[in-house]
Amino acid sequence: MTAPLLSLRGISKRYGEVRANQAVDLDVAPRSIHAILGENGAGKSTLMKLIYGVETPDSGEMLWEGAPLTLASPAAARRQGIGMVFQHFSLFETLTVIENIRLVVPGRTAALIARVRELGAEFGLEVDPFAHIHELSVGERQRVEIIRCLMTDPKLLILDEPTSVLPPQSVAKLFDTLQRLRDGGVSVLFISHKLEEIRAICDRATILRAGKVTGHVDPREHDAHDLARMMIGRDMPEPPPMVPSQPGETMLELIGLTYTPDDPFGMPLKDLALSLKAGEILGIAGISGNGQAELSELISGEIRLPFDDREQVQMMGEPVGHLGPAERRKLGFSFVPEDRLGRGAVQGMSLARNSLLTAHPLGLVRHGLIPMAQANDFTRRCIADHDVRTSGVEAEAGGLSGGNLQKFIVGREMMLAPKLFFLAQPTWGVDIGAATTIRQKLVALRNQGVAILVISEEIDELFDICDRIQVVSQGRLSPSLETRKTRPEDIGRYMIGAGAPA
């Protein structure tokens, strides 16, 4: 093996009681695509922050092209030739592509534009330099981020969960870009928890579990099963069993739902129709930004319709379009939003106080006061029944890993005993173990006769658990497709707005 581009020796980092990284060793070879594989909370993000200079390690050393490396800031990392594309993009929506690039890259505008076009052609990153960011799809925005990194000629490019925001068609294009980059002499650190992707594209993989390295492997020599075992420390959980069910009464119906958001960057919804019966799981597929956010707020009641349009949303046979979230919950509705922190849970509050958010009608409030004993009790049950790993009811919601917080929120909403259960992106950024647990619980609820609506970008997930799938694209909803009779490619066609196959 050639001398590594980047070497980490015994890198450790702790945050208070949490040991995010413990004695991590890592070698990234030049001209390689190197995967960092691990569940959420395994320490992947911390490790990348150390390499990108956002944080400094407590102990251990980093070598860059054989010389010791100390990074005080991301700017220092960029000077060394390390670039990073974060999961959440940092682009100004109201500016154009070239204006965004000019903010961080020095040089004359004309030269920058030429370079953007050149990089685009070389690496398959075509994007119009004069387009405004808000007009671009997520895939195109990601290309802008990658181009912006490439402008500084990095030797190492870090990509944090780059495929989690992309439709299947764009993933192939991204992989093509990454391979061209590698062939052009750039090493790529590719963070993911999706096993098949890593097997498809990476030359090396370093697997992290609970902050420690559990393996350095060539992913092409192992099947997904092996990788998963190294990642989660046990065998892959069983996919949830689906039993045929007799759909019952209609629990949720959208009749010609039409809505125009105030936000100019929002997606207007046009004439959506949907019907969900008890004992069914209906999935809404689609690339994010096609109206999912608006749809979920209209179903949850966070956006209310005018009284005259209340018939457009029906729950348990009643028109509810004009009702707020609390009133809809009284009818037997419960909801897990796509944003966990700041919406599904309050960051700075304890889990016990977060239980109150939606579970307060379950006797957690007496005479207008909060007897904490009841809230603690409820929270303890939720933690125990849903395998939430945390120090206890006093733990702050913001301190939990994504997966554990999601298990808490899903658990809390399930304890409301809903008749209609709605989840938006239930396994977004959630590790395999937790995601499988959540899916199993959903299927169990369906078998008990609960009506479940799931909005998800992960087509595999929808195929695993849904009876029917509808696709949202450009604010419109496709007809209902029976999962058993549908192929992922058909869903993909609806996702890019191509409509039904001829």
Partner: protein, 364 residues
């Protein structure tokens, strides 16, 4: 390899400890005091005399201390009310106006019925004042909820309107006919005065009411579901929307509570130490209470302490004006530097300093 960092870096604390939260306002107070003493020294005043008049006397001389208690009442009342709103991120800056309207509502009774007698009069006045303050704050709530008009601007501008309403009444219909054309109302009758609780001083029962309301504020903010809803709205508005806690209701409640408390304070002022309605009923209590609320960490118990401190600064400043020959602006400069010191101290509550040298090293 990288350039050595000379300046320490601010790192966010994962969770500020209780002790540093309590320490921060104290440090701010000490720093502000030192800065001001230094300033007095530069101005050629005798810092020992100033220190004695300003810092010691309010606490060691009983007459001075009783005046501190007298000033504590309105500051405590207003700040407790404001803090509830501030926790919900509803920024009522117009307590001054609500205070004035409270004083006007309370004065209506003795002005219109100067001959009335009975122990019911002063409680009725306090209640009327509180309702007046709440109504005035309600105007802000209405525009904020209906038109999304910024509550900071509306409440602040309404304070100027309230001052003009006061002027109009004192120069016109409510002017004391026997008052030699001074812009003030008649002196109130005995029953329109809040009873004194410490003989020989001007401290009256409104201080007890303020302390009782502080305890109620504690229960409301720490134990009640309504207070919880307000807190969620302040910490995470989208979580409040998700839970179905009405934003409009939170705005109304925050402003009404703030207005109620400020109006009550205004009423207690005219029915207490002043005894009539006049132009100078407030010496900026409504604005000082904003500082009090933040110095107390927006915590009902913390505010009890910060309001005593603030009252002592007022009285100490008055003392120093007389005995150490300080200019009248000295108190304002002190308040300003106190607020700035506090804001800086709060930075260190949220962040800690990290020096470059200690961050890396000890490689194994």
């Amino acid at each position: 390899m990288s350039a050595a960092r000379i300046w320490p870096k601010l790192m966010k604390r994962e969770r500020p400890s209780l002790s540093i939260k309590i320490l921060a306002p104290l440090v701010a107070l000490v720093v502000a005091t030192l800065i001001n003493l230094l300033l007095y020294l530069v101005m050629g005043k005798d810092p020992v005399a100033v220190f004695h008049a300003m810092i010691l006397e309010p606490f060691i001389s009983f007459p001075s201390f009783s005046e501190v208690l007298l000033k504590t009442g309105p500051l405590l009342l207003i700040a407790e009310g404001l803090a509830i709103g501030y926790r919900a991120k509803v920024f009522n800056i117009g307590a001054e106006g609500q205070f004035i309207i409270g004083a006007i509502f309370a004065s209506a009774l003795p002005v219109w019925y100067p001959m009335a007698t009975g122990q019911w009069i002063w409680p009725t006045m306090l209640l009327a004042g509180a309702i007046g303050g709440a109504l005035w704050a309600g105007i802000t709530a209405f525009w904020r909820v209906r038109l999304r008009a910024n509550e900071i601007l509306v409440s602040l501008m309404l304070s100027l309107v309230a001052a003009q309403v006061l002027n109009y009444l004192l120069l016109g219909p409510w002017k004391d006919p026997n008052g030699f054309n001074f812009p003030q109302s008649v002196m109130f009758q005995y029953d329109a005065m809040v009873p004194l609780i410490i003989p020989g001083t001007r401290v009256n029962a409104s201080l007890l009411i303020a302390v009782a309301l502080a305890l109620m504020a504690y229960v409301f903010m720490q134990k009640s579901f309504m207070g919880y809803k307000l807190e969620v709205g302040g910490l995470a508005p989208r979580a409040a929307g998700y839970a179905g806690f009405s934003e409009g209701r939170a705005i109304w409640l925050s402003l009404l509570i703030g207005g109620f408390a400020a109006g009550l304070a205004g009423a207690a002022e005219v029915a207490g130490p002043i005894g009539q309605l006049q132009r100078s009923i407030s010496t900026g209590y409504g604005y000082a209470a904003i500082i009090v609320a933040y110095l107390g960490g927006l915590h009902p118990i913390g505010i009890v302490f910060s309001s005593v401190v603030m009252a002592a600064i007022y009285i100490g400043g008055d003392n120093a004006l007389v005995s150490a020959d300080l200019p009248i602006a000295a108190v304002r400069v002190f308040l300003g530097s106190l607020l700035l010191s506090y804001l800086m101290a709060m930075t260190f509550v949220r962040y800690r300093l990290v020096f470059a040298r200690q961050a890396i090293g000890g490689a194994t």
